[in-house]
């Protein structure tokens, strides 16, 4: 199914999802080393091991960052428009010393801009979950609904959510709900498809248990379907929040108002390129945090089945 390829494709691009088990085995290795520490009085070996593990984990990323900053400094030296890393850092210090100032609706601190973007994402996303998850259950449970809705979803899913922005503006007659609407549109597809896939993949064994116990439909949903679909749902949610965070920047550039996307555009009009660079970092870090948060939640609900 399309969702499967979508998921694996994204997994390949985002190695941190695969990197987590490695961390766990590292932890297992160190805890296994602890008894050895008791039996051998010489613990300098294990200290050295810890140290080299630490170096191995931290050094490559540091080198990566250093290379990027070096390249950036080089480009900044050759170009008049491009701010140097030092200048950008200075600007960042100024920006983050007062992230929550307010000088009227069009001049607010970067903190406010991030928060209002996050609020839009949260609202659009919440509505998408409210509609998409039950719809996924219905599509997954009833083959008729699946064949009825699948072609429609297949056509609509590849469309950029920004194409829906004018419809939002027309319906809501305001910029703010229109950008929330694009978030709704882009989040809903992964939620529907992943939930539906989860429902279709409930292990036959569990359904047999339900049949032998002759459970009521309510018990089947709460005790069997919902818990076994939950990991799929969380994958859908994680994919959605990733795209939602991508889309909100673009949507806000088009609609204006307060928000990190609008802020980027505004700073471009003010020709403050260093602020744009800062915004790029901030957007990346916020996106990473969102993803990490959902990964934590997903791990909480994985029941150690694999």
């Amino acid at each position: 199914m399309t969702t499967a390829t979508l998921t694996s494709g994204l997994m390949a691009v985002r190695p941190e999802a695969d990197a987590t088990p490695v961390k766990e085995t590292d932890m297992a290795a160190t805890s296994a080393a602890t008894p050895a520490l008791v039996s051998t009085p010489d613990n300098s070996v294990s200290f050295g091991e810890h140290f080299s593990n630490f170096i191995r984990a931290v050094l490559p990323p540091l080198i990566g960052f250093a290379l990027v900053i070096g390249l950036w400094a080089l480009v900044a030296m050759k170009s008049a428009d491009f701010p140097s890393p030092a200048k950008t850092l200075d600007a960042a210090v100024v920006l983050f010393s007062d992230p929550f100032y307010q000088n009227g609706p069009n001049d607010q601190g970067i903190g406010w801009n991030i928060l209002s973007s996050l609020k839009r994402v949260a609202i659009g996303f919440g509505f998408a979950a409210l509609v998409g998850i039950p719809m996924g259950f219905i599509i997954g449970r009833f083959a008729f609904m699946n064949s009825m809705l699948e072609p429609i979803i297949s056509i609509l899913r590849p469309v950029s959510p920004l194409a829906w922005l004018p419809i939002g503006l027309m319906v809501f007659k305001a910029a703010d709900p229109a950008s929330t609407w694009t978030i709704f549109i882009c989040s809903i597809w992964p939620m529907i498809l992943n939930t539906a896939q989860g429902v279709q993949r409930v292990p036959q064994d569990y359904l047999n248990v339900a049949r032998v116990l002759n459970l009521s439909e309510f018990r089947i949903i709460t005790k069997i379907l919902f818990p076994s679909v939950l990991p799929y749902m969380l994958t859908g949610i994680r994919l959605s929040i990733g795209t939602a965070w991508l889309v909100i920047v673009a949507a806000e550039m088009l609609t204006g108002g307060v928000g990190i996307g609008f802020w980027v555009w505004d700073e471009w009009n003010n020709l403050k390129v260093e602020h744009i660079l800062i915004a790029i970092f901030v957007i990346g870090i916020v996106g990473l945090l969102l993803e990490y948060l959902l990964l934590l939640i997903a791990r909480r609900f994985s029941y150690g089945t694999n």
Partner: protein, 263 residues
């Protein structure tokens, strides 16, 4: 004769991509109340298929299946199943897994306290009271199988169906669980139908051993009466001449009359 299950001229054909596959043909079997019956036969002969038919998880393509004089139209709590792979729900702890079954069967007549007491009693019966709050992935394979058995017994079924309940376990754990099962069966007087690969297990646990011919179109080859007094003790049986006879009869059936052609 008080047969609780009657299997009359039952056939089972599966629709496959290469056409219809006849797994069972002309199976006739009567299971009496309170007896323990083993199904034994080579891999792929249709033991699970027959057990699933009695469970009502699948319906036969020909013939009649009766339970208590009524046609089996689907699964029901009076026919509890212990699945080969335990099939505990991984998101419920051991207590909740058993409670789910108890609640379904008894909640119409009993209050919450009584249901909880039943659940605890079932866990104690398989000596798993200490693990009530543990999740399935936190306990060993043998323990999971015990919880599966507790879940089935807690429903107080008329018939207990077990598909290779100890198939995935090592020999020692297997022996311990067999002994435990002997105790539980003696206490409850349950009617049991059980699939096994293990000749000793079949003789040790059953009143009758049903030997199946090789598939396709498998059927019942011979039925052996095990006339050993109960409760049985595995150490004493080792020297019992009738035990040896039963073993020999099954081995002869499996390895001479139904010799699998070396693949």
């Amino acid at each position: 004769m008080n047969a609780i299950v009657k299997v009359e001229n039952v056939g089972m054909a599966f629709e496959t991509k290469k056409g219809s596959f006849v797994a069972l043909k002309d199976v006739n079997l009567q299971i009496r109340t309170g007896e323990v019956v083993s199904l034994i036969g080579h891999s792929g002969c249709g033991k699970s298929t027959l057990l699933n038919l009695i469970a009502g998880l699948t319906l036969p393509t020909s013939g009649v299946m009766l339970c208590n004089g009524r046609e089996i139209a689907g699964p029901g709590p009076e026919r509890a199943v212990v699945f080969q792979n335990h099939s505990l729900l991984p998101w419920l702890n051991c207590f909740e897994n058993v409670y789910l079954a108890v609640e379904r069967v008894f909640s119409a007549k009993e209050g919450k306290e009584a249901l909880r007491a039943r659940t605890h009693a079932a866990l104690e019966m398989v000596h798993m009271g200490h693990a009530a709050q543990k999740l399935p992935h936190e306990i060993s394979g043998g323990m999971k199988q015990r919880i599966g058995i507790a879940r089935a017994f807690a429903m107080e079924p008329k018939i207990l169906l077990m598909d290779e309940p100890f198939g995935a376990l090592d020999a020692l754990t297997r022996a311990a669980l067999q002994d435990e099962l002997i105790g539980v069966m003696a206490k409850t007087g349950a009617t049991v139908v059980m699939v096994t690969h293990d000749v000793d297990e079949a003789v040790l646990l059953s009143d009758r051993v049903v030997m199946m011919t090789n598939g396709p179109a498998a059927t019942i080859g011979e039925i052996l009466d095990v006339k050993l007094a109960k409760p049985r003790d595995r150490l004493q049986l080792a020297h019992d001449p009738h035990f040896a006879e039963c073993r020999a009869a099954i081995l002869e059936f499996l390895y001479q009359k139904q010799m699998k052609k070396a693949a």
